[in-house]
């Protein structure tokens, strides 16, 4: 619902088909040559099994290649959830203790593990991609497992991000 409604909203407000708008305004300027709604026949050997390979229609479902860009908009990185909203929906227990919602993705609001640093904005995709951007460290991390998220892979994500911390060379 969320992304389908956004897809229609973006297309109507821009006056362009969604795919055209995204390509002209985001993917092409960022050099994201392998991101789109479908995989060209010549590149069919590139997606791994978890990636959608059919043509996208209304729902915003993109095939991401290895060359991803990143948004760096303050609105995306600021928690916009009100206390009233937290009172009626916590997403899952403990989530709001250290996490907020920016426009589009989650933001870390309090450091409660080695890897969760306040100010990072991030998302773990259900198909096995974990990403965050850290404006303070000028760091972008992307983990592609190509496996559906499970409790075990959740621990693997945490180990990966924990391992990134000592790799930062100040």
């Amino acid at each position: 619902m969320y992304e389908t409604a956004f897809s229609v909203l973006i297309a109507r407000a821009s006056g362009q088909p969604l795919e055209t708008f995204l390509r002209e305004r985001i993917f092409d300027p960022l050099g994201m040559a392998d991101t789109g709604f479908s995989v060209p026949a010549a590149k069919l050997d590139r997606p791994s099994t978890c990636c959608p390979t059919g043509a996208g229609t209304g729902a915003l479902e993109v095939y991401d290649g290895p060359d991803d860009g990143r948004p760096s908009v303050e609105l995306v990185t600021t928690d916009h959830i009100t206390p009233g909203q937290t009172a009626v929906s916590k997403f899952f227990p403990g989530f709001r203790d250290s996490t907020g919602w920016g426009f589009g993705v989650s933001v870390v609001t309090r450091r409660d593990t080695l890897a969760s640093v306040s100010g990072r904005f991030r998302w773990d995709g259900g198909l096995g991609t974990s990403w965050y951007s850290d404006p303070t460290e000028d760091l972008v991390g992307i983990l592609m497992t190509q496996r559906l998220v499970t409790e075990e892979s959740g621990r693997m994500y945490e180990d990966f991000w924990t391992s990134v911390c000592p790799a930062i060379d100040d």
């Binding site: 821009s14 948004p71 993705v105």
Partner: protein
């Protein structure tokens, strides 16, 4: 990993004043106008009342 893409595309349109963050969505998404919502979260699907606020109100 489509959320950052949807957010970036939307905020591009906000910067160009083609979308406004706090405008009702009814003009561009009339399908979502005159929303009815469940009276109770665990109530029957036909027990609805007019929505008292906009989606995304803050």
């Amino acid at each position: 990993m489509t959320k950052p893409v949807a957010a970036t595309a939307t905020l591009i349109l906000v910067e160009e004043c083609r979308l406004r963050l706090d405008d009702p969505v009814d003009r561009l998404l009339p399908e979502l106008a005159d929303r009815r919502v469940l009276r109770r979260i665990d109530g029957p699907l036909d027990d609805t009342v007019p929505a008292s606020r906009q989606p995304g109100e803050r």
